[in-house]
Symmetry: C2
Subunit: 451 residues, 2 copies
């Protein structure tokens, strides 16, 4: 496909460069040139499909670095409960009944919601099943994603099979849209020996299916709550010397290919180790607040130069996949709790949602900013709304005022996946019908089992 | 006008009652009956305009209890700055150049944004000018509002004239849509004598223009930041014995007709006094976080039985007028900072945004819930969106997942002010044009003055 997006304001997220009256020429999946509209229009005329972005912003699509996409099926199923009750009485019992088809349907729904809100890449951790899975859903939706398989001590054999299948069949597949990851659930559900083994398995899989350019990464929940050391002590009779990161480092798990979600309960030493090992962070402020986990020391990590990206977490603990909400919450939360209004300014938060997200997934050579040679992952935002009027500063509007519904057109890997708010890859009505049906069937199976 | 809204799920916000397949009959400005669709359709047939709300939620419109509507003109003008610099170098200098027409235009823009996001009542505090003002803008938009004039020690004479004019010309006017309020800016900008005088002025105005049913209320910023006692000491050489509320109470200012915005920095004694005097609270979590003011002890006030409502604050410190964002932020913030996921559950937050808002404005006999005999102020929300799918619980979806753009139709005072996302009272394109033009002219006048 040959495409020219023109006449818009391009927020490149590369060296803070903004191009007004800008145009982007795309060939196949790649951005081939960026410049002024009057110049590019002459050069890329015949044979190039045109998208007029007059009065609109063109941004690199958002990169949501922590999701459990299939869990959209449980959106609003249970809220406002103590964590233990929420998990043990509500979430885990119903999840046991989820089939591979349910996971596929949930991921389709999240893919639709993500694209419609300007997200072009999603990092998701869930149970991988060969029959149907999140990778299949993302590939069908045309959504870029890192798809992981979540590993637990109690199912090592099953995990290893799943990881092999996932890496073999999906890593760097679907025109390079999908990558695989190895996902130890957490330091308290994966024993130390298995954690080491999962590191090794990831390395082996990288040798077989990965490359320097397209690596298989590790994705883990870490330091989500204060009581994680206590959980580790209970599960494995290990008394931590310092924090969670020091513990993970002692197992040789940490390096620049690890993305750790949450990072709420960190020691000073943890942060030092993260910097040293170049661990990447996915900050999930909405989920952390809603589940009452606490508040991640994001300004401290940023000051240290650690890569902090943004995630929504699952639609079951958020309850949306909306990166605009996550950006705004990030920008205001750290100001408020630190009583410092200069922290996490708009431009920095926008970076966290785009280029820093790409770095967090070891994918920054191809995505995260609008640059010649990078993949064409773009969102076009309509500014002609009362809540975006008047306009002084684009970054401010994107972080503090814009909303998911302002996204009009989305391009992923050079393909138009949403045009004028209409998905081109999915029948959204049908996806919603499937999700409602799947929910009802899940509830039925749950009820029968309980009886 | 005679209207039948039918076939929807009615979230009445009255005794937590939900009516499925529900209908609401409206005559003139009033709800005359609520019931099942098949019954009301027979009764209210010919002569009743019909609105089909199939698959949709019908809720009482949101009540935004703290705004400075005109300040939408400064949306995104300055962010991420230390408070003193933000106010003194950015906001105050440009505000000096605002004309009555600018104020009217800003309020029109906020009215459009408010209605489009499901808000039917706005409590706004700004400079009242007889020529053009926020009341005129709200009345034209068909938006219900309490419009105040903000008072400062340095302009007592001007304030008194403005208050008399406001009360005389706007209180309980525009078919009862508009009410007036007396708004001392804050305890540190209004000296103690003037604070007492403003209480008396309000009482006098109530005798002349108010009534038990439609009172003129008092609206004040209070305890917004920790340093407010210090500001009072500097301004008036008064050393507070305890907190801000005790101080205001010592001046005889507090009673059930007072709505205090922010209430962040409260002492235990302050909260006791607020309970005793039945002071109403407007909680503004987004503004409080963004300006780094801190976090209001909302769970403590709620536990005490104090009426806590929700406000967005001005679009200059938020930067939207979106009550969905404010509900979600409220619901998650207090869980997170108190590490208790059961605090501020969805149903309670929905009450804060509707019926508690009505109480906060002493307007609960007419608005805030869907009840026979109350004014018809409704918002109809389309659930047929990926981010609202599947559906388990309506309150959860409204607070945690729904967005401004899901609001389709809005009725205020029995009049359809937005139908299928199109405003009927305002030309939104023209309002946005006016706002952009006003902004440019403001910046020009500011620049000329600086030179």
């Amino acid at each position: 496909m040959k495409l020219l997006v023109h006449s818009g304001t391009i927020i490149t997220m590369h060296n803070k460069k903004i191009i007004r009256q800008g145009a982007i020429a795309i060939e196949k999946d790649t951005i081939v040139e960026i410049g002024k509209t009057h110049e590019l229009k002459r050069k890329y005329g015949r044979g190039y499909e045109k998208i007029d972005a007059k009065g609109k912003l063109i941004i690199p699509g958002f990169i949501n670095t922590h999701q459990h996409a299939a869990m959209s099926l449980l959106r609003g199923y249970a809220n406002d409960l103590p964590l233990k009750e929420w998990l043990e009485k509500w979430i885990w019992p119903i999840e046991k009944h989820m089939t591979s088809h349910d996971i596929y349907v949930g991921a389709l729904l999240t893919a639709a919601e993500s694209i419609m809100s300007g997200t072009t890449t999603v990092n998701t951790m869930y149970h991988y099943m060969p029959e149907e899975n999140e990778a299949k859903a993302f590939a069908e939706a045309g959504l870029r994603g890192v798809v992981g398989h979540v590993c637990f001590s109690w199912r090592k054999k099953q995990d290893k099979k799943a990881l092999e299948d996932l890496a073999k069949n999906w890593h760097n597949k679907a025109d390079g849209l999908i990558r695989a990851s190895v996902d130890p659930h957490s330091p308290y559900t994966v024993d130390p020996e298995y954690m080491k083994e999962l590191k090794e398995i990831g390395k082996e899989l990288n040798k077989k299916y990965g490359s320097e350019k397209a690596p298989i990464i590790w994705h883990i929940h870490a330091a989500e709550t204060d009581d994680e050391p206590e959980k580790i002590r209970k599960a494995f009779k290990i008394q931590l010397k310092n924090g969670i990161m020091e513990y993970l480092d002692s197992l040789g798990f940490l390096d620049e290919r690890v993305i750790a979600a949450h990072c709420v309960a960190l020691t000073k030493r943890d942060i030092e180790i993260m910097k040293q090992r170049k661990v990447k962070v996915s900050h999930n402020p909405i989920s952390n607040l809603k589940l009452a986990s606490g508040i991640s020391p994001v300004p401290k990590m940023l000051k240290k130069g650690i890569t902090v990206s943004l995630g929504t977490d699952s639609p079951c603990s958020n309850n949306t996949a909306d990166m605009f909400e996550t950006m705004k919450t990030t920008a205001i939360l750290h100001k408020g709790v630190n009583k410092n209004p200069t922290l996490t300014p708009a431009q920095q938060v926008l970076e966290m949602a785009t280029i820093e997200g790409a770095k967090a997934l070891s994918w920054e050579k191809e995505i995260g900013s609008i640059e010649t040679g990078k993949k064409a992952d773009l969102a076009i935002i309509n500014l002609n709304k009362p809540h975006l009027c008047p306009l002084y500063n684009e970054a401010s509007h994107l972080v503090y005022a814009a909303k998911a519904a302002d996204v009009e057109t989305v391009i992923i890997n050079g393909k138009i996946v949403m045009e004028n708010k209409k998905l081109t890859t999915l029948n959204v009505e049908k996806v919603m019908e499937m999700a409602e049906k799947t929910k009802n069937s899940l509830l039925e199976r749950l009820a029968r089992n309980v009886k």
